[in-house]
Symmetry: C2
């Protein structure tokens, strides 16, 4: 009856039940993978920089390249990743393609990240 008070790591009833309830609330394999995949997109400073530019305005690829002082190719590759993950949308206008933020979650996620790192 007092086993609950003893902290041990070999398999005890309490732990078994706990793990059972945990596995009930764990999202499916696919969602976990998609989530990780999404955050990977935020996990690169070049892409973060691109998003910060898009917080201010809709811009074309070559302006992004100039703003971040990087190759057009490098930027274009990253924009493709951002677009695949629906963080940005694009619109062609003549020879140029303009990119903009896709939705508000992007801002919220980055804001929460900033709050986190500034809090310590």
């Amino acid at each position: 009856m007092d086993r609950n008070e003893i902290e041990r790591c070999d398999t005890v009833e309490v732990h078994r039940e706990l793990l059972k309830s945990v596995s009930g609330k764990m999202p499916k394999e696919e969602e976990l993978y998609d989530l990780a995949e999404l955050f990977k997109v935020f996990g690169d400073s070049t892409r973060i920089r691109i998003l910060f530019v898009l917080f201010e305005a809709e811009v074309c690829v070559c302006d992004l390249a100039e703003a971040l002082n990087m190759t057009q190719s490098a930027i274009s590759h990253q924009l493709k990743i951002l677009k695949q993950n629906k963080l940005v949308r694009s619109r062609r206008e003549g020879k140029s393609v303009f990119y903009a933020l896709a939705d508000g979650h992007v801002r919220t996620i980055i804001d929460q990240g900033r709050e986190h790192i500034e809090e310590e």
Copy 2:
């Protein structure tokens, strides 16, 4: 005077001014790097799984290993990364070490991520 209407990508006044105002709001190099670093931590399904377990309860390493059906070593390595980035905190109790969520930002960030991927 009508140059503003023409969309071009070689350097025009409008673009120069835009980029100037953008660079004003861009966080410093170090913060951008730290932000990317933080999101990298969320960008792995094993670590996401660990966080989901910790959403439910404070657990020890070997329970995490059993819950996720992974090596103790693998879990321990990932916990180190989570701890270095202040996403989790740990507490020793006898032979075991218990891990728990460090703060609320973790939940918010993951929730926003889930909303984003489920919206399409």
